[in-house]
Subunit: 142 residues, 2 copies
DNA sequence: CAGAATCCTTATCGATACTG
DNA sequence: CAGTATCGATAAGGATTCTG
C-alpha cells in the first residue's frame, strides 16, 4: 500500500483514482467507504471484531456508551456491506456470533494506517484548534 | 489471537492504538479524524488542493454540486484543524488562495491508501448489497 | 470575488419500552 | 440473549438572498 516511489510518509503525488471533481460523487466508492467508516460506531465494531469473534452482548459491553439500537443498526449495515458475518446458533437462549469477513479484515489494513496517522498527529490538530494538548509529550521521542 | 494464514492482501495483527473500548471515544483521535474525513466534502477539498493551490471559486467549480455554504464551512473547519491554509491577496476584487499545510499533505497519504482500497474493493461491497456492479469487469460481456 | 446570514429539510443518534 | 419499535433531540446539509 505504500506508494510506488515516495519514501517519506508525506510527499505528494498520491494519485487518487479520480483527479477530483468526481462525477456523481454519491456513487464514488471512496466517498461511500469514507462515509461508512466515518459514522459514529462502525470502526469501533470492526476493530472489536478484528480482535476476535464476539457475541452481541459481548460487543455491547466491549464498546462503551453504544446504545443497543445503534449497535444493531451498525451490525446490520456492516453485514449488508459484506464486512462482517452473522452466525446464529439455534440454542436457547439464542446465541449470535459476529466476525469479520475477509473483506472486513482487508479494510482494517488501510484503516489502521489512518488510525496511526491520527494518533501520531492529533496533537497538531488539537493545537491548531487552540486547545492545548500536551499528553503526547510524556514519552516524546523523535 | 487470530489466525496467521490468510493469503488475501489482509493480514491480521493490526494494532489499533486502543484495544477497542476506548474511554471517552469522543476524545479519541481516531474517531475524531474519521468523522472529519467522513463528512461529505472534506476529502474532495483536500484532494483538490492536493493537486495544487486554488482560489475559492476555482474550488467551487472543481467540485461539482458543492454549495457555496458548504464549501465555506468545510474550508473553515479544515483551516481550523490546521490541514489547509488560507492566503488573502489584498487586491480588488479580493483573491483568496487555499493550499494544503504539511499536516494536510501528510493526511493524504493514509487517506490515499484507504481510497485505493475502496476503489479496488467496492465491487465486493456493491455485490454484497445486492446491487450488481460489473463496471470493473471492463473486458467482458456484450 | 469571496463570502455571511437566514431558513428549511433530512439524516443521525440516543433513550426508552417491549418481545420471542 | 438478541433483538424490534417508537419517539424526540440534534447535527449535517442545501437553497436562497445579500454584501464589501
Amino acid at each position: 500500500m505504500s506508494g510506488t516511489h515516495t519514501d517519506v510518509p508525506s510527499m505528494l503525488a498520491y494519485r487518487l483514482p479520480a483527479p477530483v471533481p468526481a462525477a456523481e460523487h454519491a456513487e464514488c466508492p471512496v466517498t461511500d467507504v469514507l462515509r461508512r467508516v466515518g459514522d459514529k460506531w462502525s470502526v469501533l465494531v470492526l476493530v472489536s471484531l478484528g480482535d476476535r469473534r464476539r457475541r452481541f452482548n459481548e460487543l455491547h459491553r466491549s464498546i462503551e456508551h453504544i446504545s443497543q439500537r445503534m449497535l444493531t443498526r451498525t451490525l446490520r449495515i456492516l453485514e449488508q456491506d459484506g464486512l462482517i458475518e452473522r452466525e446464529v446458533h439455534p440454542t436457547v437462549p439464542p446465541g449470535v456470533e459476529y466476525g469479520l469477513t475477509p473483506l472486513g479484515r482487508g479494510l482494517l489494513v488501510p484503516l489502521s494506517a489512518l488510525a496511526d496517522w491520527a494518533v501520531a498527529n492529533h496533537h497538531h490538530i488539537e493545537t491548531a484548534r487552540g486547545r492545548v494538548d500536551r499528553s503526547w509529550e510524556a514519552t516524546d521521542a523523535r
